[in-house]
């Protein structure tokens, strides 16, 4: 039962827009999406019998499919609505984000994707723990995974609640519960097979919707992006094509850039996708597709952002929502009427739903595969038990996501995405790189680098202006950077290296010979 609220968001805009009113077209599209994805889930549920099906979609996904699924997992509503909004209100400064979100993908390809697929089974901890002591390494890796997933989930859930209230006129809590329930249905019954197909459908809708909108914008400017930028400069000054205040502090920009670039290669829900393909070669090709799709998407945000700036206007956009997040929906309404607004609104909802599903599945894998099966059970649990624990963990995380979403209602949680990337970059990425490429890495080194990476990132964020000044309204912060990655990534690498050198382990170094073989040649028949 859906309860519609005809009331508008607080601070009702004087602008002629139907955003915030129940939109019949949005409802139709959204329920069509739910119907299709539940259908996929029903189909997938009958194919989900083993842990390999549940975590890794029976390793049956093709490179093109996985490229779309990776793009689907990565492109959140925050990047669609947030970056378009930022470009529409600040111009060039928004483009800094458009580029930052892509540059991690080549790094994933060069350093991580193939070794991960060849060495691991379901989680990135499989790779780090491969030749080290299972229990301590897996506990430390689960810490980094769960910290990343939880923060990312909070940001997505709070964003979902606010967005859906604004777009559909549903209450915040109703929206959160719908997202939680639909996501649980996908993951619980359809596992990775359903989650992958939800991502593919969502990525197709998001890319299609954005491309259609971009074409409609360009058609007003003779299909020439430069003419669009010129119109923006004519209307709002050449300053919109030049760097503004966003990068006032260079170190802040570098630190955020490091978090985005290296964090992508440490996001658990992204890494898990490489296990859904048959071999390292397909993993490689799937990143190629993903980079193409995601890059095209961020190039389109240039057009959408400047299009909204020229056609809708920054003042109107801020009036509807101060953060600028409604720029793309307003543009859709202007160019395609209420029906197109409804379509874009439904796409944004579907986007959040899909990202939340991917996050939950990767969190469930850390809890059940890493902590329960390999730590508590010492690697010996029956397939039936493994599947059962994975589903219990999924339900737990689903409830947690709803509770966190409601707890953080009304809080400014935008920084949490940057923080999740910082933890992924400082805890997961260094451990992966050192485990894959450095013979003398030891258990003590791995544990220190992952725990320190997580704890230092959380600690420094607490002491940063983001929390101390923006949230707690203190005058100054102890730590100057808004994102700690500039300090915590080198710290985590240094800790891993120094502690490994202080605790040399002959047998762990010897294990590297076999690991290196497996990293290139793949698992041998009898090992798989």
């Amino acid at each position: 039962m859906i309860i519609l609220q005809a009331t508008q968001a607080p601070g009702a805009p004087a602008v002629a827009t139907r955003i915030g009113e129940p939109n019949a077209v949005a409802m139709v599209f959204f329920f069509a999406f739910i119907a299709i994805t539940i259908g996929i889930t029903y189909w997938a549920a009958r194919r989900t019998r083993t842990t390999e099906d549940f975590y890794a979609a029976a390793r049956s996904i093709t490179p093109g499919q996985n490229g779309f699924a990776l793009a689907g997992d990565y492109m959140s509503a925050a990047s669609f609505l947030g970056i378009a909004g930022l470009v529409s209100t600040t111009g060039f400064d928004g483009l800094i984000y458009s580029t930052g979100w892509l540059v991690g993908w080549p790094v994933v390809l060069f350093l991580i994707a193939e070794p991960l697929r060849n060495i691991g089974k379901y989680t990135f901890a499989d790779v780090v723990a491969a030749r080290l002591r299972q229990t301590p390494v897996r506990i430390a890796a689960a810490l980094g995974t769960l910290a990343t997933v939880t923060l990312y989930l909070i940001a997505q859930m709070v964003g979902a609640g606010g967005l859906i209230r604004l777009m559909f006129g549903l209450s915040y809590e109703t929206a959160i519960v719908i997202v939680g329930a639909a996501m649980l249905a996908y993951v619980l019954f359809g596992g990775m097979i359903a989650t992958t197909w939800v991502q593919i459908v969502k990525a197709g809708l998001l890319l299609g919707g954005a491309a259609l909108l971009a074409l409609m914008v360009l058609s007003k400017f003779g299909m020439n992006p430069v003419a669009l930028f010129a119109a923006a400069a004519d209307k709002y000054g050449a300053g919109v094509l030049a760097p503004g205040k966003l990068v006032a502090a260079p170190l802040d920009a570098i630190s955020l850039g490091m978090a985005l670039m290296f964090g992508t290669a440490g996001l658990p829900h992204i890494l898990m996708r490489f296990y859904t393909v048959p071999d390292a070669r397909t993993a490689r090709r799937s990143v190629f597709f993903a980079t193409g799709l995601i890059g095209a998407f961020y190039l389109m945000t240039f057009i959408l952002g400047f299009g909204a700036m020229v056609l809708v206007g920054p003042d109107t956009i801020r009036q509807v929502e101060p953060g600028g997040n409604m720029a793309a929906p307003l543009l859709a309404e202007l160019l395609g009427g209420t029906a197109f607004l409804g379509f874009i609104a439904a796409v944004a909802f579907a986007t959040i739903l899909a990202v939340v599903a991917g996050l939950t599945l990767s969190g469930a894998a850390a809890l059940s595969h890493d902590l329960w099966v390999n730590v508590v059970r010492g690697g010996h649990a029956s397939p039936a038990e493994q599947l059962k624990v994975a589903r219990v963990a999924t339900i737990g995380l689903g409830i947690l996501a709803v509770v966190l979403g409601i707890t953080f209602k009304g809080q400014n949680v935008a920084f949490m995405v940057g923080l999740a990337f910082a933890i992924a970059a400082s805890a997961n990425f260094p451990a992966l790189v050192l485990a894959i490429f450095w013979r003398r890495y030891t258990t003590a080194g791995a544990v220190t680098s992952m725990v320190l990476g997580t704890v230092a990132t959380l600690g420094l964020i607490w002491l940063s202006p983001t929390i101390q000044v923006d949230l707690l309204k203190h005058d100054a912060a102890w730590f100057p950077l808004k994102n700690p990655a500039l300090v915590t990534i080198p710290l985590s690498f240094a800790a891993g290296i120094v502690v490994s050198l202080l605790t040399p382990r002959q047998e762990e170094a010897q294990g590297f010979v076999q690991l290196e073989r497996r990293m290139h040649m793949g698992a041998l028949e009898h090992e798989a």
């Binding site: 060039f92 580029t99 080549p106 430069v226 094509l241 030049a242 990068v247 890059g295 240039f302 290139h520």
Partner: protein, 93 residues
């Protein structure tokens, strides 16, 4: 013999991965540093509607594509062929 070939293939793979990563880091942080330290250059207009900054921003995305293409091409031809050779050599033993 096979061990030697494996070593050289592993080392080439590592060298290419690290070099390409370094190029990507240089491109992106070069872009960020230009924004941070040379705002007038980034704001300079090349033609009506196109500033150096907007062009370089789009170029960062295009170069990311080019680098992934370079790696995939190398790996699809040389790396995979080397691995196949190794597998055949070992199967023959």
């Amino acid at each position: 013999m096979s061990e030697h070939r494996f070593r050289s293939l592993a080392e080439t793979r590592w060298r290419i991965a690290v070099s390409l990563t370094a190029v990507m880091v240089a491109i992106y942080f070069g872009f960020i540093l230009l924004i941070a330290y040379n705002k007038p250059l980034m704001g300079r207009l090349l033609t009506r509607g196109l500033s150096v900054g907007v062009l370089l921003g789009a170029l960062v995305i295009v170069l990311s594509w080019v680098l992934t293409w370079v790696y995939v091409r190398w790996a699809n031809t040389h790396y995979d062929a080397g691995l196949d050779q190794l597998r055949r050599a070992e199967a023959a033993q």
